[in-house]
């Protein structure tokens, strides 16, 4: 499955992103940006981008060569002054929602965001019921 994804990714990738284990890693794969403010921005984004060749890791925590290429890509774009959220949108456009660990509200994901509201409502209801009733019985000493 992993290999399949990798092959798939190779087809989808544009030439500058072409990943190959035999090639040396790209410039910014294992190097930080010199400006700590920009690096912090890049790091924040990388931590929320899924590595497509490993299981459940972000590209900030991965040794896979593809993750290295994506880190390079993100750092270069941040250096060019792009906004992290714009880069995220660009990545999602290419690879789909799956690449981003930060789900956006969409027809596919609305239950994820409705659920916390529902849970909060249930919690409030449970607590209210419990305390309203015990408030009355507070007279029972």
């Amino acid at each position: 499955m992993k290999r399949l994804l990798l092959i798939l990714a190779l087809f989808v990738f544009a030439p500058p992103l072409l990943a190959d284990d035999t090639m040396p890693p790209a410039a910014y794969a294992y190097r930080q940006l010199d400006d700590p403010r920009l690096e912090a921005k890049a790091r924040g984004l990388m931590e929320t981008i899924r590595c497509l060749t490993c299981q459940s890791q972000s590209i900030a925590d991965s040794d896979a060569s593809m993750a290295g290429d994506m880190r390079n890509q993100i750092r270069e774009r941040i250096l060019r002054g792009e906004d992290p959220e714009a880069i995220r949108r660009w990545l999602v456009e290419r690879y789909g929602d799956y690449i981003s660990y930060a789900p956006q509200v969409s027809p596919a994901t609305w239950p994820l965001f409705a659920a916390p509201l529902l849970l909060l409502a249930i919690a409030a209801l449970l607590l209210r019921r419990r305390f309203a009733r015990s408030g009355q019985s507070g007279a029972v000493k």
């Binding site: 929320t48 299981q55 972000s58 040794d63 789900p103 994901t109 849970l119 919690a123 507070g138």
Partner: protein, 656 residues
């Protein structure tokens, strides 16, 4: 050939023991069920002995599996697929449960032993409830025996013995991970006992403080092991994966976190039931939910559904099996609960300002957190089944769980100070002035030191106030008179604060340095000066490695040596990075050796992580608090039993 012959039958012996254990579980279920009827007393007498023998047989089967792994019997399919003759002994043994079949056998073994232990020692509850409980335990075991025997037999032979085994995943060849799964399984299975108690109580409608006292040590025990298991797993991921992350909201991690959250809630509501005979139905409900979470966790990890929903759909035998078991047990238990909940009264009442209310708030918030983790973990699978791929990660889990956890931690500062049933907030107000001041002060400091990082600020602000408030229940008491369970509570709550502080510091203050250096070059990371001395090749039992000699000096003090390795395993071929850590009281220096760069330089990854060790120290404190509470409760139970038998003995003598 001849001494081979004696070794050859070990696998068959194990399989036979497993079949016998399964048969005894069926007998235990039937006898326990019949014992509930009026005429079934005679059969009831066999239930306890059968439960004990069933546990022993399961243990024998497991011992047989460990034996074939130790002798690397390559005619057993499982050994050939997961072991290797050149592997160190520790990992040969750990290999027995480092795979699907073996871990399921470990699961039923622990379950059988726990059931046998309950049958042997638990005499406080009405015998009818005990029969129902042991029948329930047998009912759950049967499902897992069937699963083992028909869908994942660990003792299957190969037609032709393999020439050599395929080895164990190198990432798993680590002492921490050798003992991680058994720890978690003890936790999961302890919750199965709580589940069986809940079923027993639902069937016989016997919910009482005595019931809660019988269930509590099991819940506490399970919870201690889950706490330790999660803590150890997190530390393993931290140092083994080589990037300094300690929690990834990975479904496998969530699978252990969910039972823990449910068990934490159950533990607290159990306390209310034992002390005040309140929250009766709620406690039973949590007993069912906690074990359900254990089973969902096992399903997630063991069915292969996480690797890919599609792979799961292609070979769904095992997954479907566990799914059916889940449906039977969870669905059945919830149905039983729905049928009986109406006839179980809520129990004693209490006012809004009372210890009980604080615990109700804790329970509701923990359940909310559990809900978020459950949805965030299962939704991507559901979406994938419907043809959409979404990822849910830290940007979702962190803020939404904080929504429930932060209010809970605020109430945690006050709740333990309140009295049972009815209290007056004015009584405790004076004690809370200092924590409130600490809170305000640390919010200010945190905003200055970690600007813009919302969750870190909340954590940094809450932790010191919570640490202080957690000690307040000891105020005004003579410390030599404080009972163990109270010490346990104080220690566990203090541990929560410690852990929270570690998490917040790690996310707020970590310094990262990714560089390529030549031997002799020095790098600065935070207060450290790290010099790369040399690179040397070394060899281990089943790997070769390049080892970097790093000299690290903290603010100019005498340097210490670190030796991170980049290891190449050959069975199976895989590269791992062995990080080297340097621990100080105020944090850890984390070093990883990467690949060689083009021009003779070497990749280094360095992190300075202030107070990161507090995360796991807090986890250990929480577990230790649980242990103290458990010892205290068990000791007072034993004292009560002894006193009662003394009274009975005296009465008998006087009567004579």
């Amino acid at each position: 050939m001849q001494d081979c012959g004696s070794g050859q039958v070990i696998a068959e012996f194990g399989l036979a023991a497993l079949w016998l254990a399964a048969a005894l579980a069926v007998l235990q279920l039937i006898a326990g069920g019949v014992a509930l009827s009026r005429r079934g007393d005679a059969l009831g007498a066999v239930v306890r002995p059968v439960a004990i023998v069933q546990g022993v047989l399961a243990l024998a089967a497991f011992a047989a599996l460990v034996a074939v792994f130790i002798s690397t019997d390559l005619s057993v399919k499982l050994v050939a697929a997961n072991s290797h003759s050149a592997k160190p002994l520790l990992y040969k043994i750990a290999g027995a449960w480092g795979n699907h079949e073996g871990s399921m056998l470990l699961w039923v073994t622990i379950m059988g032993l726990a059931g046998g232990f309950v049958a042997a020692v638990e005499r406080r509850l009405p015998e009818r409830t005990m029969m129902a409980t042991l029948a329930g335990q047998a009912f759950v075991s049967i499902g897992f025996y069937v699963f083992l025997l028909f869908a994942s037999n660990p003792f299957t032979r190969l037609a032709e013995p393999a020439a050599e085994g395929q080895g164990l995943n190198p990432l798993l060849q680590d002492p921490g991970l050798a003992f991680h799964p058994p720890t978690l399984y003890v936790g999961y299975v302890g919750l199965s006992i709580a589940f069986s108690f809940a079923i027993g109580a639902l069937i016989t409608r016997e919910v009482s403080p005595a019931f809660a006292r019988a269930m509590r040590p099991w819940v506490l025990g399970a919870w201690i092991f889950l706490t330790l298991g999660i803590t150890a797993g997190s530390y393993w991921a931290y140092y083994e994966l080589g990037w300094g992350g300690w929690w990834f909201w990975d479904p496998v991690e969530n699978a252990s976190l969910m039972p823990w959250l449910a068990a934490t809630a159950l533990l607290h509501s159990c306390g209310v039931l034992a002390a005040r005979n309140a929250l009766r139905a709620w406690t039973l409900m949590l007993g069912v939910v906690a074990f359900s979470m254990s089973m969902i966790g096992t399903f997630l990890v063991r069915s292969g559904i996480l690797t890919s929903v599609h792979a799961f759909a292609v070979d769904p035998r095992r997954g479907t099996f566990i799914l059916v078991l889940l449906a039977i047990y969870i669905g059945g238990a919830l149905m039983l609960f729905a049928l009986r909940a109406g006839s179980i009264s809520e129990g004693e009442r209490f006012a809004v300002t009372s210890r009980e209310s604080g615990l109700v708030f804790n329970n509701v918030m923990l359940s909310g957190t559990l809900g978020i983790v459950l949805i965030g973990t299962l939704y991507p699978l559901l979406a994938e089944a419907m043809g959409m791929k979404v990822s849910v990660g830290p940007p979702y889990f962190n803020p939404f769980t904080a929504l429930f956890v932060v209010p809970m931690l605020l109430v945690l500062m006050v709740g333990p100070l309140l009295r049972w049933r009815l209290d007056n907030f004015g009584r405790v107000r004076s004690g809370l002035i200092i924590p409130a001041l600490i809170l305000v002060l640390s919010i200010g400091i945190a905003i200055v030191m970690a600007p813009g990082k919302m969750l870190s600020i909340i954590g940094l602000a809450l932790a010191p106030a919570l640490a202080f408030a957690s000690l307040l229940p000891l105020r005004g008491r003579r410390l030599s008179r404080v009972k163990l369970p109270l010490w346990g509570m104080v220690l566990a709550h203090f541990g929560v604060a410690v852990s929270l502080f570690g998490m917040a510091c790690d996310s707020a203050f970590t310094v990262e340095k990714l560089v390529a250096v030549r031997p002799g070059e020095a790098v600065r990371v935070g207060p450290w000066q790290v010099t790369m001395k040399s690179i040397t090749p070394i060899a281990g039992p089943n790997w070769t490695a390049l080892e970097g000699d790093l000299q690290a000096s903290y603010n100019g003090t005498a340097p210490s040596l670190l030796r991170p390795q980049s290891r190449s395993f050959w069975t199976p071929p895989q590269q791992t990075n062995e990080s080297a850590l340097l621990t100080r009281w105020n944090g850890q220096l984390y070093t990883v050796l990467g690949d060689e760069a083009a021009d003779g330089r070497w990749q280094l990854r360095l992190w300075w992580k202030p107070f990161v060790t507090m995360i796991w120290l807090g986890g250990v404190l929480i577990a230790l608090g649980g242990l103290l509470a458990m010892l205290g409760h068990v000791a007072s139970d034993v004292r009560r039993v002894i006193a009662r038998s003394k009274i009975a003995f005296r009465r008998e003598r006087q009567g004579r």
